[in-house]
Symmetry: C2
């Protein structure tokens, strides 16, 4: 039951369409879809995937793996580098489910490997251009060192290489996404051909929401791990991954005050609801698009209106033109978040248009 405002409204039919789109794409491209569940962190949203045949998932923390394992998911990859602080919980969890872990360097491998007691699948993270973490895909010596170390442990099953082409998030057109996608595939194909004789079942795990939304070709790839696409958001719209009508999540905010002279509206909806993630639009910070709300669903974004500033509980909408004339305190507006993963994490729960609750991994279970 919806208790208070603002609240996060999820459009379930849109989610189902977004999932179907990616399931069909994976089927057609003959890659496994192992969606990243860090976006929704929700067993109830997970069920929407299960209904469409998804049975392998990706998460970004041990706590998230525990949560989904308790909800019946039994093939889980933790796509975050494995550090010693996680060992105890990974050892326990891997007794009950097929668990894959990730190492991003020989250093974090060496720091942890001797303390892993359960049987786990192991991915080695490679960097295809993002520059955040993972071994440079060309660094054969470091990769060989890691693969040999993993192979020397009977309880570690080397699965293959995993990458996150996170630099796709700085793309601002489908063409840019396509270009870096082709470059990544080409690098991964070389990597695969180097290792596939020794490991015929070698997995190449790849794919974020921009590349998986825009591209249809995944030659040489075994599985894709997009996450955000289930909801999409303003950032993905700006990248070119989706239309605004595919965005399946909005924060429903009471209007607090209207200042027509300044062309500003204050809503109850701030940094603890939307997060402070932002995109730049026409040189200004944007924290969300603004839609009308009819009590069940939301309209297309109102042109020339966006959230331009957030404090803890306040959101400031700036607009031009007269589309927001007549809005008054107590009315409700729907804000499309810039980054749906963070909005879900901020809000901790979602509701659908029937008032059903979609719980999220609680903060104190992490």
């Amino acid at each position: 039951m919806i208790k208070g405002f603002p609240f996060l409204l999820v459009d379930i039919p849109k989610c189902e369409q977004n999932i179907a789109f990616m399931v069909q794409k994976a089927t057609k491209a003959k890659v496994l879809l192992r969606p990243h569940f860090k976006t929704h962190q929700s067993l109830a949203v997970g069920e929407l995937f299960r209904k469409q045949g998804v049975n392998r998932i990706t998460v970004s923390s041990v706590a998230m793996a525990e949560y989904f394992a308790a909800g019946g998911w039994n093939d889980i990859t933790i796509a975050f580098p494995f550090v010693p602080q996680m060992v105890q919980r990974v050892n326990a969890l891997a007794l009950g489910v097929d668990l894959n872990v990730t190492f991003s360097s020989s250093q974090n491998l060496l720091a942890t490997i001797d303390r892993v007691e359960s049987k786990v699948g192991v991915f080695v993270e490679v960097d295809v251009g993002h520059g955040r973490s993972g071994v440079a895909v060309e660094n054969t010596r470091e990769l060989a060192l890691m693969v040999n170390l993993i192979s020397s442990k009977p309880n570690l099953v080397f699965k293959g290489f995993l990458t996150h082409a996170g630099h796709s998030y700085s793309a601002r057109s489908r063409e840019e996404v396509d270009k870096l996608h082709s470059e990544a595939l080409s690098k991964l194909a070389k990597l695969r051909s180097f290792w596939v004789d020794q490991f015929p079942d070698l997995a190449i795990s790849y794919g974020d929401t921009p590349t998986c939304s825009v591209s249809d070709e995944f030659w040489g790839i075994s599985e894709i791990r997009p996450g955000n696409f289930v909801f999409y958001d303003v950032m993905q719209y700006q990248i070119g991954s989706c239309t605004t009508s595919q965005v399946a999540l909005a924060l429903i905010c009471p209007v607090v005050d209207v200042y027509p002279g300044k062309q500003k509206i204050i809503v109850h909806g701030g940094a603890i609801h939307l997060s402070k993630d932002r995109v730049e639009i026409d040189g200004a910070d944007c924290y969300g698009f603004v839609c009308r709300f009819d009590g069940k669903g939301w309209s297309n974004p109102i042109p020339n209106a966006m959230v331009t500033s957030l404090s803890q509980e306040h959101g400031v909408i700036s607009y031009s033109g007269n589309d927001l004339d007549g809005i008054k305190p107590g009315d409700l507006l729907a804000i499309l978040p810039v980054h749906s993963c963070l909005a879900v994490d901020c809000m901790g729960q979602m509701f659908d248009s029937e008032g059903n609750t979609y719980d999220v991994l609680p903060k104190n279970k992490r």
Copy 2:
């Protein structure tokens, strides 16, 4: 008990000192201290205030008011504009505690006033320069309209005027804070003198962490409402409100990877832990200062090192010099957050150095 990493460590003796500093300042200036509890959202941290004689508090939402009321606080101001969506819960809550609400315009007053049934104290929000919400302090006609409306309702007790000089957050020196503080006091003194004959008990409620930390004079002010000072953070340090040694909160993060060639370190500590709030330092985005951690407490910040990028779970530390030589995966670093209010909201719980838990208002109670 600390379950996982990263976790939020609170330095209780520092909190107690920060509280004592503000209690003494308020006593000396003969103003009431009504601290803003939106920073910690925690009954256990609230007890630290109670021990030092604080018995009136400020919150930023009805949910927060309910949470603290259930914990025994019985004089609470909701310093966020009252909208119709809050009426039912306010009516119920005001039956059990002394509750003050805030209106920021005649429009939100008119939208709500007829539905308020319980006895509540009422503040009118004025704007002394921040430009976010509230009636311009000079707009006597609008203020008179609101005061008359409030006074016409027997269950509404007009308390006075409330302001948030949030533009102090854009100050970057104690001198700048002092200057805007003096301007605000001067405007509020005029407001007070206009109304005090009609309302001899008129309250002027003022004060954010920058002005209350930096300034000692509060002539004409009845009560101050700073909140952040209990923890402080990198933003307050940059404003000039505190030293880094007064910061009482740090995120304890496992080191994931080290890239000495790039002078970068990856930690487990991202946007869902620290929030994406940031300050600019030497032209670069800063998401936190970096300290050593000895298992109990943290060092002074390491010079020439800061968190320069965050994704959902990853933090990227950039550094120069050799202070971080020798750090390796599995080591722990302490990150001072840019904005402690948001880091607490992100993490949902804190721990002290003894491993005691400090719970925070759960997300699903909001």
